[in-house]
């Protein structure tokens, strides 16, 4: 199970990166939505490669999440050096951020709103918010330029980081890569990658993993709902190395509450 999951993460991330390289050629950050629509409609096999990129990215997040849960259940933190555990933990928010910026840079209805919300959430961070916004978003002034750069750079960094760890153990086998490539291809052939046209609507839903935060933002101030609350599991996962019981209890409570908010957001 462990090997299947960890190599699944590496394989799907590799597929997402390769398909991302292909669709980055017809993609233009100055005209994000037009070029994304162009990829879907004009570029030969563009819709397939975009779907492949989309589903392999989603699978990377799901598999990494399962890999982390499995590492917690099997108490792998204690058998690893703290820095190795930290890299595994850091890769989770990094993959989430890559996926989130992937939504932002397509600049459709979901992406446009997600970018604006992310910008305001970054600005809600005390003292460093302005600099964080300038580094990662600034979508209201600079379009999707910065999220696009972060999407590309962070992918390279995560692939390098996780790849270095996994390839140190053994090389990614062709069988693993082939299996995951088949799953991603099957998903891409059955479902199209999501793209929501801008319209005069009264409800815009964010990325599926962001729905809980979106729901919570209706009730709590931006900093608490959008920064503090989503950061809690990362803090708990880091803390798991030293205080496993307390961290596990906190993680379970957080997961339960987030699941409820996610369902509430999805049912709207």
């Amino acid at each position: 199970m462990t090997k299947w999951l960890s190599w699944g993460v590496t394989a799907t991330l590799l597929i997402a990166t390769l398909s991302g390289i292909i669709i980055s050629y017809p993609y233009h950050e100055e005209h994000p939505l037009i070029s994304t629509v162009g990829i879907e409609t004009v570029v030969p096999f563009g819709d397939f490669f975009r779907a492949l990129h989309y589903f392999s990215g989603q699978l990377t997040l799901l598999l990494l999440w399962m890999h982390t849960v499995e590492a917690l259940i099997k108490r792998r933190a204690q058998s690893r050096p703290w820095w190795s555990w930290s890299i595994l933990i850091l890769s989770l928010p990094a993959i989430l951020f890559i996926l989130f910026t992937g939504y932002v840079i397509r600049d459709d209805e979901t992406g446009f709103s997600a970018g604006r919300i992310a910008e305001h959430l970054a600005l809600s961070i005390p003292w460093v918010g302005k600099y964080m916004n300038h580094l990662f978003f600034l979508v209201s002034q600079d379009g999707v330029h910065r999220p696009w750069l972060i999407h590309v750079y962070l992918t390279g960094l995560v692939l390098g980081g996780t790849g270095l760890w996994h390839f140190r153990l053994r090389l990614l086998s062709l069988l693993d890569l082939g299996c995951w490539a088949t799953i991603c291809t099957a998903l891409s052939l059955v479902w199209p990658a999501s793209l929501v046209a801008p319209q005069e609507t009264t409800l815009v839903k964010g990325p599926w993993f962001f729905l809980g935060v979106q729901e919570l933002l209706r009730y709590l101030p931006p900093f608490w709902a959008g920064i503090a609350y989503p950061s809690l599991p990362v803090v708990c996962l880091f803390g798991y190395y030293w205080r496993p019981r307390l961290a596990t209890l906190s993680l379970l409570l957080w997961a339960l509450s987030y699941g409820i908010f996610l369902l509430m957001g999805a049912c709207r």
Binding site: F112, S113, R116, I117, E119, H120, L121, S140, Q141, E200, T201, T202, L203, V204, G206, Q214, L217, R218, Y219, P222
Partner: protein, 131 residues
């Protein structure tokens, strides 16, 4: 002796160029933080009572007090507010903040009114300022 002087002069010049370059970059960075001038849009439209003109960044309508323009940016988290013709109100699609046609806050997490925009009526049409 001459070679030493030349070397010293070269190092001084190089340091000057480097410091000058750093200063120039600093100035450019500082200027980028200055507020940008507002964007002006010229609109040649005829306003009719009870009809809202929805622009990419603004709402324009004829109220009882005359023509008004409102920003479509939600004061909560910056989403683009939409016009709901069924309820005749403005709704933010992200977190459901609601506003009257005058931009007054009704409900939702925004807790602020929609920002009014500067509007100038000329013989040729309207000039709208978006800050």
């Amino acid at each position: 002796m001459i070679i030493k002087k030349q070397r010293r002069w070269f190092i001084k010049a190089l340091t000057g160029i480097w410091l000058g370059g750093l200063g120039a970059v600093g100035l450019i960075t500082a200027f980028s933080y200055l507020p940008r001038p507002p964007k002006k849009i010229f609109l040649k439209v005829k306003l009719v009572p009870n009809k809202v003109i929805v622009g990419p960044e603004y709402f324009l309508l004829l109220s009882a007090h005359g023509p008004i323009a409102l920003s479509r940016t939600c004061p909560h988290l910056g989403c683009t507010v939409n016009y709901d013709p069924e309820e005749n109100i403005f709704i933010c699609p992200c977190h459901q903040s609601r506003f009257t046609l005058l931009g007054r806050y009704i409900s939702g997490p925004a807790h602020k009114d929609l920002k009014p925009l500067k509007l100038k009526h000329t013989d040729a049409g309207f000039v709208l300022e978006i800050a």
